[in-house]
């Protein structure tokens, strides 16, 4: 790709149609959805979802984490209410993503905001946030196109994964690790300072304790609320008492400049 377009950012072709320029922006994300979507489709098939419903869940929920969670919780026969509650807490993070995009979408109609919210997701958020922040010509219309491209690739790879799952016998405990890896990746992308690492450790210990005590995934919900409140409190106290504390120093990652578009969180 680099050979064909040596410098795509600096020299935009003014005659390039909009669908193609937005597709070019969305392409790295689209391609990275393929392996994860395939794994997700295989797992959903194993959980009993038929191919049609796998397509539907990818279009309507459109969240890797949530769909993997549905598949895992169905295979351990969790009750409906517990799955939906867990999904709610998992999806609550979108409140943060959508509020941080809201300054760029001022003046849009509610119909547009509806369309935008339905296909919002961690990864296309990262791309759009970056484009909104750096490209003055980037508007809601282009952002929505990027969302739709990623939605299309995600749903298609899920459906193909579901078909693969029905054709081949696959070790599910290994495929399930795709979810763990996805979450680990998202944690690494979220780490901005040393305080975040402390919160990770606190949250990890709390999660184990709460789950052992409640004997259910409700422990996850409780530990998430406590850990995020501890983080909120600790940061506010540090900011007030020790504004130069090294716990608040920013951490930079070696690859962060090269592949900015693939960030899960560009905040």
């Amino acid at each position: 790709m680099n050979k064909r377009r040596p410098n795509p950012k600096q020299v935009p072709d003014p005659n390039e149609p909009l669908w193609r320029s937005t597709l070019r922006v969305a392409m790295p994300l689209n391609l990275s959805y393929i392996p994860i979507g395939l794994a997700c489709g295989i797992l959903l098939h194993a959980a009993g979802f038929n191919t049609l419903l796998t397509g539907l869940v990818s279009l309507l929920i459109f969240s890797g984490g949530a769909q993997f969670l549905i598949a895992t919780m169905l295979t351990i026969n969790s009750p409906l209410l517990s799955i939906v509650l867990m999904l709610f807490f998992l999806e609550l993070r979108y409140a943060l993503l959508s509020s941080s995009l809201s300054p760029y979408l001022k003046g849009s109609s509610n119909r547009f905001l509806f369309m935008f919210a339905v296909s919002l997701n961690d990864e296309n958020y990262a791309i759009n946030y970056l484009k909104f922040a750096t490209d003055k010509k980037w508007t809601g219309k282009e952002a929505l196109m990027v969302e739709h491209y990623s939605l299309l690739f995600w749903a298609a790879s899920n459906v193909v994964g579901s078909l693969i799952g029905s054709a081949l016998k696959i070790d599910l405990s290994i495929v399930n690790f795709a979810l763990t890896a996805l979450f680990l990746y998202m944690i690494v992308m979220q780490i901005k300072n040393r305080l975040t690492i402390v919160i990770c450790l606190i949250s990890g210990v709390l999660a184990a304790v709460c789950m052992m005590l409640t004997k259910s995934t409700l422990g996850l919900v409780i530990s998430t609320i406590i850990a995020s409140l501890i983080g909120f409190g600790l940061e506010a106290t540090l900011r007030k008492r020790l504004p130069d504390s090294h716990w608040l120093w920013r951490l930079r990652s070696p690859g962060s400049k090269k592949k900015a578009v693939e960030h899960s969180d560009a905040n």
Binding site: L31, V57, I61, V84, R93, S102, A181, L184, M212, F232
Partner: protein, 115 residues
Amino acid sequence: MNAVNTWNSTQHFWLIILGFIVAFIPRFFPLMLFTKRAIPEWFNEWMKFVPVSLFTALVVKDIFIDSASYALLLDKYSEMLAAVVVIIVAYRTRSMAISVVVGLIGVFVLSMFMA
């Protein structure tokens, strides 16, 4: 992961609809509200810690907690090692696809050598 789920497609359909509603609420309402008025600072400061806390909790559940009895498990060595590999790869490449694929290959290879 051996248990076979007994739900039928109608139940799956309703799960999707309910899932859509809980996925839609946190995506839409902040967007609708905050394109019209300012975001309260404390809300943002608090929500900042929700994703990282939740993802860590989910990873701990996947690696250290037994999915049936909710007892502490400390013998999933291949998953633990693969998790360390994923963290390093994610930190260095910042690519979601590479991290996930390396994680899958890692856990597959490691589980052949360890129980």
